[in-house]
């Protein structure tokens, strides 16, 4: 056990950093003096977590805690996305949290706890770990959402997110109980094997298994904000402090999609039966197809009429969930697409956290950018806002030479290659992304082509925000022009995931539940 300790290191560093910040906050006299120290402690935690990932890159998968966790390159890739999102959010918040009257230490502690929950989620290999890490990240994010002490909207957002999230948790735990009930296992791999046997035998228990898988899928669909489980997204995103919104949008999504892919590949049988809802569709193909199509259509559709930028980005994040779910759905026909999904998650992390950081940067006179009207002609007062915003919006709209285009490109080509009903899905995706271009470009049109108003612009911004923006802008463009290296890495990560869990063909046992207990 202690020998495996280094596998925990990413999480441990995050938690240690959180504990140190907590202690400083408790025993430090003057919060203003300890501010920078807290910040660098938290940043150090993230960096150390990043460095300690190194052994798991290009290494065989390792399980620890009797198989409760599994670290492989797949989780390492996702942890990188999560850590990037966390670091950007931290940099962007350096002066922002002070402006909205929040203690920086509180923010950092909660952020680090959320990040450690996400890291745990990506390495979870059994239902209990999955449940615990989801709850750890959810609770932290609820608190982060409601952190804006002076704003009634922040509290309302936290309340809505909490109620909906707790409800989804109830559904998920019910699903997990059902899976445990039919298989008697909590670890993903045995569950997958037994489910395959159950579906081969078809003695009635497969109904409960189906129910369980469906309930878990619904809970994850909630976490990633897929329609029709999306209602919390716009409200929570709008009410939360802006940097938290960025963090929620990217890191939660990366972690949840990572866990969902692992579940889909490892636990939910693709080869259970030729017909039925697994069939050639792989994991719950129809449901994912439906969720993806609905998310793409409704997300973009709702976003068009939004004038509040944060809300618009919230609906756009629903649409992006739809594109990612399209990848997952198409995996039933073409498993190459997972690499595209990973790439898209990385691209999405950079462009979305960048866009939210840009909103913070663009906020003038200590006032949050709310309506799109607040952006009028800002590009001429603050050229950096214009260029950065244009790059992020182009990327979100999927215009070439940006990360967003390459991400869409990888997912769409692979989905098209899957053929059949996925082709329809890809066509829906293409149509809706054209629809989406309208509202992204409108933001650019406002920043460039409208007359600026007379409101003053804020003076000097802090270096943290500038650093966050520089990182995301460069990342977005670089990923758009030279995608191959990152795509190769994503492919490697996915290969391992699938290779490790290739299941032997399962023959129908006499009685479900009596297959070998290994």
């Amino acid at each position: 056990m202690v020998g495996d300790f280094d596998i925990f290191l990413p999480v441990v560093w995050l938690l240690v950093a959180a504990a140190i910040v907590m202690l400083i906050d408790l025993f430090g006299d003057d919060p203003d003096k300890t501010r920078m120290f807290n910040f660098f402690t938290a940043l150090g935690g993230v960096l150390l977590a990043f460095v300690s990932l190194n052994p798991y890159w290009d290494a065989p998968p390792q399980t620890i805690m009797r198989g409760a966790m599994l670290v492989d390159q797949f989780s390492a890739f996702l942890v990188i996305c999560i850590l990037i999102g966390t670091a950007i959010s931290m940099f962007a918040s350096l002066s922002y949290v002070k402006r909205i009257g929040v203690n920086l230490a509180d923010f950092l502690i909660t952020l680090l706890l959320a990040a450690s929950g996400m890291v745990l989620l990506t390495v979870s290999n059994d239902l209990i770990m999955l449940f615990l890490s989801i709850e750890l990240l959810s609770f932290s994010v609820y608190v982060l959402t409601g952190l804006h002490g002076r704003s009634g909207r922040s509290a309302e957002a936290a309340m809505k997110y909490f109620i909906m999230g707790a409800f989804a948790t109830g559904i998920m735990i019910l699903g997990m109980a059902c899976l445990y009930g039919v298989t008697g296992e909590v670890q993903l791999k045995p569950i997958g094997e037994k489910l395959a046997a159950i579906f081969a035998a078809r003695q009635g228990t497969e109904i409960m298994a189906t129910f369980g898988m469906g309930a878990i899928l619904i809970a994850f669909a909630f976490k990633v904000g897929a329609v029709p489980f999306h209602s919390w997204v716009p409200d929570a995103y709008e009410g939360a402090p802006t940097t938290v919104t960025g963090f929620m949008a990217v890191a939660v999504k990366a972690a949840a999609f990572g866990a969902l892919i692992r579940l889909a590949v490892v636990a939910f049988p693709a080869t259970a039966s030729a017909e039925g809802f697994f069939g050639d569709l792989g994991f719950a193909g129809y449901a994912l197809w439906l969720l993806s199509a609905l998310s793409m259509i409704l997300g973009n559709w709702f976003a068009i009429s939004q004038r509040n930028v944060k809300r618009m980005l919230a609906y756009s994040s629903i649409a992006h969930s739809g594109y990612l779910l399209m990848g997952l759905a198409a995996a039933g026909g073409n498993s190459e697409v997972y690499a595209g999904v990973l790439y898209y998650l990385l691209a999405y992390t950079l462009m979305t956290s960048g866009a939210f950081a840009m909103l913070v940067y663009a906020s003038s006179g200590g006032r949050d950018i709310e309506s799109i009207d607040d952006l009028r002609g800002l590009a001429w007062k603050k050229p950096a806002v214009g260029i950065g915003m244009a790059i992020f919006m182009f990327s979100l709209a999927g215009i070439p030479l940006t990360a967003g285009f390459m991400g869409k490109y990888f997912i769409f080509t692979q989905t098209i290659a899957a053929g059949g009903r996925y082709l329809t899905l890809a066509i829906i995706g293409i149509c809706t992304s054209i629809m989406g271009a309208y509202y992204y470009l409108r933001v650019i049109a406002y920043t460039y082509f409208r007359d600026p108003d007379d409101r003053p612009v804020a003076g000097k911004e802090d270096w943290g925000l500038k650093f966050a923006l520089g990182l995301t802008v460069l990342g977005t463009v670089f990923l758009g022009i030279f995608p191959q290296g990152f795509y190769d890495a994503a492919q490697d990560s996915v290969k391992e995931l699938q290779h490790d869990h290739e299941r032997p063909a399962v023959t129908a046992p006499d009685k479900p539940g009596t297959v070998a207990h290994d």
Binding site: I128, A166, G170, L174, Y180, G181, V186, P234
Partner: protein, 108 residues
């Protein structure tokens, strides 16, 4: 010994009651209580399954995981109540009511 079926039936009834409560209540505290009811109903089911698999002679991890799971769910549920109450208090301080309908500033 009780039939597992009966206990599971109890779990299902409790879960459904919780579900009904979540859907029909407007008071935030009642919502929170209903949510807890859902979790605890699942706890009962988990313990039942755990016993069932122990009876089937499953390996130790399989048989006992249900009970561990229940303990974890209990701990998480307690934390959930803590956070939920804190959030509800925050809402109450601004809206002066614990009616979930009062919080509808964010919409559209």
């Amino acid at each position: 010994m009780l039939e597992p079926k009966v206990v599971l039936f109890l779990a299902a009834v409790l879960f459904s009651a919780g579900l009904y409560g979540v859907l029909s209540r407007r008071h935030l505290i009642m919502l929170l209580m209903s949510l807890e009811l859902m979790l605890n109903a699942v706890n009962i089911a988990l313990v039942t399954f755990s016993r069932y698999w122990a009876g089937e002679g499953a390996g130790m991890i399989g048989a006992h995981s249900g009970q561990f799971f229940t303990l974890m769910v209990m701990a998480v549920a307690a934390a959930e109540v803590g956070i939920g109450l804190a959030i509800i208090v925050a809402v109450y301080r601004r809206k002066h009511t614990a009616d979930s309908d009062a919080a509808s500033e964010l919409k559209g």
